[in-house]
Symmetry: C2
Subunit: 344 residues, 2 copies
Amino acid sequence: MPPTDPLLLRAARREPTAVTPVWLMRQAGRYLPEYRALRARHGVLELCKSPRDAAEVTLQPVDRLGVDAAILFADILLVVEPLGVGLEFAQGEGPVIHRPVRSAAAVAGLAPVDVASDLGFVFETVRLVRRALAGRVPLIGFAGAPFTVASYVVEGGPSRDYVHTKRLMYEAPDAWHRLMAILAGATAAYLGGQIAAGAQAVQLFDSWVGVLAPDDYREFVLPYTRAVIAALDGAAPVIHFGTGTAALLPLMREAGGDVIGLDWRVDLDAGWAAVGHDRGVQGNLDPVALLARPAVFRERVKAILARAGGRPGHVFNLGHGVLKETPVEHVRALVDMVHELSAR
Amino acid sequence: MPPTDPLLLRAARREPTAVTPVWLMRQAGRYLPEYRALRARHGVLELCKSPRDAAEVTLQPVDRLGVDAAILFADILLVVEPLGVGLEFAQGEGPVIHRPVRSAAAVAGLAPVDVASDLGFVFETVRLVRRALAGRVPLIGFAGAPFTVASYVVEGGPSRDYVHTKRLMYEAPDAWHRLMAILAGATAAYLGGQIAAGAQAVQLFDSWVGVLAPDDYREFVLPYTRAVIAALDGAAPVIHFGTGTAALLPLMREAGGDVIGLDWRVDLDAGWAAVGHDRGVQGNLDPVALLARPAVFRERVKAILARAGGRPGHVFNLGHGVLKETPVEHVRALVDMVHELSAR
């Protein structure tokens, strides 16, 4: 625990804070000109694999925005590359997996992941960032949750209907369970390594889990997310996030997490009640609201803070990542607004 | 009311039925070889505008599947063409609107819709289908709900983040409200015309409404959906459908509908409780389940029927449309299964 006892870590323990802590998913990202300048010269994987560059990108927004946490610059698919599925970030196309995994044989053919050697560059980034932050704000590490990572591995890229993923689940459940066990094991080791290197909290991104029926989540996903969180054994607070999860929140809570991430599709108070008040919640402004004038989104920020009701355990965030069209000065205005409006 | 007192209409009135009625969104669609054969020769708009062809497509699945209703073959964007926004169905690309509406000036420039002259071909299709059905099963008419139609008109096509739609809503609320009022008026007249021509029930598709925060739904959408449903004044049962709506169900109920459509992301019993048991519900099998073997999806059908608990007012359907990859024999097996497993 750094000497300043950071707001974010206190909120994650549901301790009272003088103001509501705020950080933003994708606060290091394409809406920042200094990030775009780096990306013009380097691919995503290349940036991630250069600890100096990744640390720079992680730090870019911290002082500029006045946020209460840094979030590691990395990609949820880094853990997938050592599996040997042919991961590539095509120019302007998002991730492509050249050998998608859609059968028991394909699952059996996956190479083992040794996080220390395969993902050591991430741990080095964590160390560099911690040193540079010098205790100003805590550093959040992260990984994709097993379902969301599996969905890319099976589909071969982003998807709309998740047809291949669900087919594997329904038609070859043994293969599905083996794939999820492999990803859960690698993810637990990966997050454990980030924490050992200095990450003070971690977020598990189950970004696309909202495409599942609750019964499917319970049977095919929950045990693996629970295994990842249980393996960390409280070494750092865990934020467990997904989108489209209004009906999944009680099950996500069951899987674990000190703080459950809410997207904007649910009222924060209703979402917190579904999660249970013995956990924290994070969220939940619609990222599109940040494209409007600050006077317009100020009313929305007020409404979210009112729904949180000053209850300890609320971390302010968007409901998903900052959109690339977002004006930087709006992001800065949001951070100031949250601090101003939540001052107790 | 036709002499046979159709299952679907009884269920919509929450009257007991001998078996649970079942029909499928997109039951007339790309998974059917006879539909693909017609589409190889005609565009979507061309098919819709030929009452003989549209009636044929509407009827194709009825006997083949044994469903309890026919659903009009049409497109939710037909109502948009008379506005003069340049609607086109590009080959394999989905709908494109060449002059998207993103300002007060653009809203002011929309041409008036005269449904009798602009959409008379749809009413003619309804008459042809009713005659051909000769009372075997009822015919469901449909329209897009104002929000979902507006989202295409503003975005210019399908969208992921609905940035333009929400920006108009947030930054130019007067223009947004005018656009919604125009669409609500045209939609009410359009559905009224379908009912007058013989549609025995109508479904209002608010397919993409699940991208909204509940507060936004209440302010920017609910009044217009309510106006459409209220204008029909009980002339036919209304099914009110959306996806990703777990947190919106009480508000959708407030907007209206005899039956509220549920997607697969919510447990049917929890969804029905959120809607209220004084309304019916429709749903809610994940369309991807139909790609698995019938022995696999049979268990899911059983689970959905168990959650409905034999309560009058359940219409079985998928949680969204039939996917184009779906084997026809699986769809037939589903219909038989629902009838067999729900027999009282």
